[in-house]
């Protein structure tokens, strides 16, 4: 599990120091190491590839202006998640009256090389979009970024109990609206 006490893989504190001192190659490595997390958070929050790319670019431009204040790679990961989720929530609040593009118009979010049910994954992603922006951010930080509730509370400046209640309520909604293949199989066998 990646927590605030662990560094993001693929990028070291030494490389961060080089990037801070203006090394373009180190900065490129930093972007490559962290863009996946930032882009996916933006995509799952905003639901549109173009908006996710715009947000990713804004976040890294902002990071570049604040690079000197990044003490470590762990601090950097924390900062990137925080800024990305805050900016995404802010955007969603501003465009709350605008109808969002359906996910069906988008390319598949990822391959199904793990053998997972692509339809079920698409269904869960669609349900995620129906949650409120803060609840969505909590769920993404928990299941996409693998943060524990304490780290989520720190990232979103949210009381731990609020994080837990978001998680509980969101899982309950997803559970109610997600078909259970095991249960379906049992029902098929009984009939």
């Amino acid at each position: 599990m990646l927590t605030l006490t662990e560094a993001a893989p693929g990028f070291s504190d030494e490389q961060l120091a080089k990037a801070r001192s203006g090394d373009a190659a180190a900065l490129a490595s930093l972007i490559r190491a962290h863009q996946r997390s930032v882009y996916t958070l933006a995509l799952r929050m905003l639901d549109t590839r173009e908006l996710a790319e715009d947000l990713t670019q804004e976040v890294f431009m902002q990071l570049n202006r604040n690079l000197k204040s990044m003490a470590s790679n762990t601090h950097l990961s924390f900062w990137l998640r925080k800024v990305t989720t805050y900016r995404a929530i802010d955007q969603l609040r501003r465009r709350s009256r605008i109808e969002m593009m359906p996910l069906d118009d988008e390319a598949p979010l990822h391959s199904t090389a793990d053998g997972g049910d692509p339809l079920l994954q698409r269904h869960l992603q669609r349900l995620l979009l129906e949650l409120s922006p803060p609840a969505r951010a909590v769920l993404l930080l928990r299941y996409q970024e693998d943060l524990d509730p304490i780290d989520i509370a720190r990232t979103l400046d949210m009381p731990i109990n609020t994080v837990k209640s978001h998680l509980k309520r969101s899982l309950e909604i997803l559970r109610q609206r997600t078909p259970n293949p095991d249960r379906s199989r049992c029902e098929d066998q009984s009939t």
């Binding site: 863009q35 990713t56 670019q57 431009m61 202006r65 990822h110 079920l120 698409r122 869960l124 996409q144």
Partner: protein
């Protein structure tokens, strides 16, 4: 059931990479921005769009100030002209009054002189 749902969520929410084209553009943009920040000569330089905006704003502000000053000077000139006209009218009235008084005195003295000369009245 809960663990099952959580593992499905983890599978559905695995991080995805953006396109390589986007990554290349992002790196180019951010490193270019870093270059302009490292170079102190370019640090305070505005983009052409921002410069055009500032130029238009400066021209508009100069025009407003010039119009305001011109308006103020015109008002001051008009006030001075009005005061001068007032002084002239007062002077004209004073002179007219003096002349009328003089004429009155003359008429009065002339009208009283023949009556004094008439005998037996």
């Amino acid at each position: 059931m809960s663990d099952d749902l959580e593992s499905r969520l983890r599978a559905a929410l695995r991080p995805v990479a953006p396109s390589e084209e986007f990554t290349q553009k992002l790196i180019a943009r951010v490193t270019a921005d870093q270059g302009s920040e490292v170079n102190p000569r370019g640090a305070g330089r505005r983009s052409p769009k921002a410069s055009a905006w500032w130029l238009s704003a400066s021209l508009a502000a100069s025009l407003l100030v010039a119009t305001g000053v011109q308006h103020h000077l015109k008002e001051r000139r008009d006030t001075e002209r009005g005061l001068e006209a007032r002084r002239q009218v007062i002077e004209a009235l004073r002179v007219t009054s003096q002349k009328l008084n003089l004429a009155y005195e003359v008429i009065k003295s002339e009208s009283s002189s023949p009556a004094d000369d008439e005998p037996g009245v």
